[in-house]
Amino acid sequence: MLKDITFGQFYDSKSLLHKADPRIKIVLMVLLIVFIFIAGNMYSLAFAAVSVFSILLVSKVPFKLYLKNMKAILPVLIFTAIINMFYGEGEPIVSFWIFSLTLEGISRAIFMALRIALLIFISSALTYTTTPNDLTDAIEHLLSPLKYVGLKNAVHIMAMMMTIALRFIPTLIEEAEKVMNAQKARGADLESGGLIDRVKALIPILIPLLLSAVRRAYELAEAMECRCYNGGEGKTRMKQMTLSVCDLWISSGAVLISGGIIVLNILI
C-alpha cells in the first residue's frame, strides 16, 4: 500500500553494518566514494568493485533490493556513459559528423559507469542498513561542528525538519487517500480526460490536503511549545551514540580497501 513506501529503504536484519554507528557509516561511505573516484587504473577499480560487493554481502540485505535501486538509476548511468564515450580527446576509431568514437572514450565510459554503479551500491548499503531516524541523528551530529561558525540553528532546524517530515509523510499519504475517496464519492473523475483535465481534477484533492497540512503544522507547533521546545536551546539527547567493536571492524575494512586502491594505483 501507498503508506508503506516511506520506510521502504530500511531493511531490518542483524548484520555488522546494521549494528554499526550511523555516523561512522556515513563517514566511511564518503571515504569509500572518494577512493572509488581516485581509483585510476583497471586493477584498482576492479579491486574497489570486489570490495563493494563484499560490503553488500556483509550487509545481509537481499541482492535483488540493490538491483532494484540500480534499475531506477540505469537511464542516468547509460546517459553518462554515452556522453563520456564521445567526449574528450583520443585517436578516433570511427567518426561521423562531429562525433568520433575513441578507444579512450570507451574506457572512460566504462570507468565512469562502473564508478557511478559502485557509488549507488554503497549508498544503498547505507540506507538499507540504517533507519531514517538514525540517519537524521547522525547527520545532525556530524554537522554539529558548524555551530562554531555560527550555523548552530541551521543544523538543528534541518534535523528537526527531517524528523517531522519522516513522522508526517505517512499521515499525509493516508490523508490523501481519504480525500481522494471522499471526492470520488462525490462523482469526481480522476481517471479520464486529457492532461489539463487531470490536473484540474487534482484541485479538489490538493486544496483540502494543503489546508489540512497547514492545520496540522499549526497544532504541532502548539504541541511542541507545550513540551518546552524553544528552538533547540540547551537541548540534550536521550540516545547517545556510542562506538562499539563493530565500528572498529568496519573502519578497518574501509581503511584496507582505501589502502588497497592506493597501492594498486601506484604500483601498476
Partner: protein
Amino acid sequence: MKMDNIIEIKNLVYEYTEEDETFVAVKNVNLDIKKGSFTVILGHNGSGKSTLAKLMNGLNKPSSGKVLVDGIDTADEEKELEVKRRVGLVFQNPDNQLIASVVEEDVAFGPENLGLEPKIIRQRVDDALKAVGMYEFRKSTPHRLSGGQKQRIAIAGIIAMEPECLVLDEPTAMLDPKGRAEIIETLKRLNSEKGITVVLITHFMEEAESADRVIVMNDGEIIDDGTPKEIFKKVEKLKQVGLDVPQTTELLYELQKNGFDISTDVISIEDTALKISAVLNSEE
C-alpha cells in the same frame, strides 16, 4: 497563593481579534485547581473551554486578570518554560502532537528540551511509557498505532516532563469507545497513583462521572461548579446550554417527572438500578 492550589485564576479575561472584530472567549473567570484533584470542565463547542485550557499553561496570555501556576504568573515571559513544565497540555488530535516516528523518541522530546541528562531521560521515558501502559510499543512507529494508543503516547510525552498538572482538551473526541475508555482509565490511574492533578475538558458526560469536581462553562463563563452528582441533578439547566446528561440521570429524571419518588443524584449504572429497585420495592 495557597499552597494547595496548583492553578489559580483571577478575574481572567481573554479577547482575540479576527478580521477587525473583537471576540471575548473568556469572560471574568475565577477558578482554583487543587493539587491532586480530578476536575472535569464541560461545555459545548465555542464555550471557551479550549481557550481556558491554553490559558492554564501560558500558551495563551490573559488579556486581563491573572493565571498563577504554582505561584508563577503565566504572563511572565522569563518563566515560560517553568510554567509549561508544570502544567502539561494534551490536545484533541493525537496525530498532530507526536513529533518523532519512533514512540520512545517522541516521549523523550520534552525531557530533551529540558536539557536533562541522557540517563535520566531514558528513565523518565521508560517510566512514562509504563505509566500509560505503552512500554511494549516503545520501538513502534506512531502511525501504526490506534487512536487511543497514540493519545496515550501523547500523554506519556507530557508526563515524562514530570508536570504537576495535566490539562487535556477533549482528548477523547476523536477516539472510538475502546480508545476513550483507555484514556479515562489511564487518567484515573495517573491521578490516584501518581498524584498528578488532572483537568479534563470534554463533552462526553459519562467521563465526568468519577471526577472530584465538575465545572460547566457557557459563553466564556463558569455557570456551575460542584460535584458530578450536584451538577447532573440540574438536567434542564445543562440541556439549556447545549449539553446532555448521562443516560442514567436522564432515566431517573424522566421517572421523577412521571411521579416516581426518586432523586437524581446517582450516576453509575449499579446505583441507578439500586435506586429504582428500592422505589419499586417500597411501594409493594
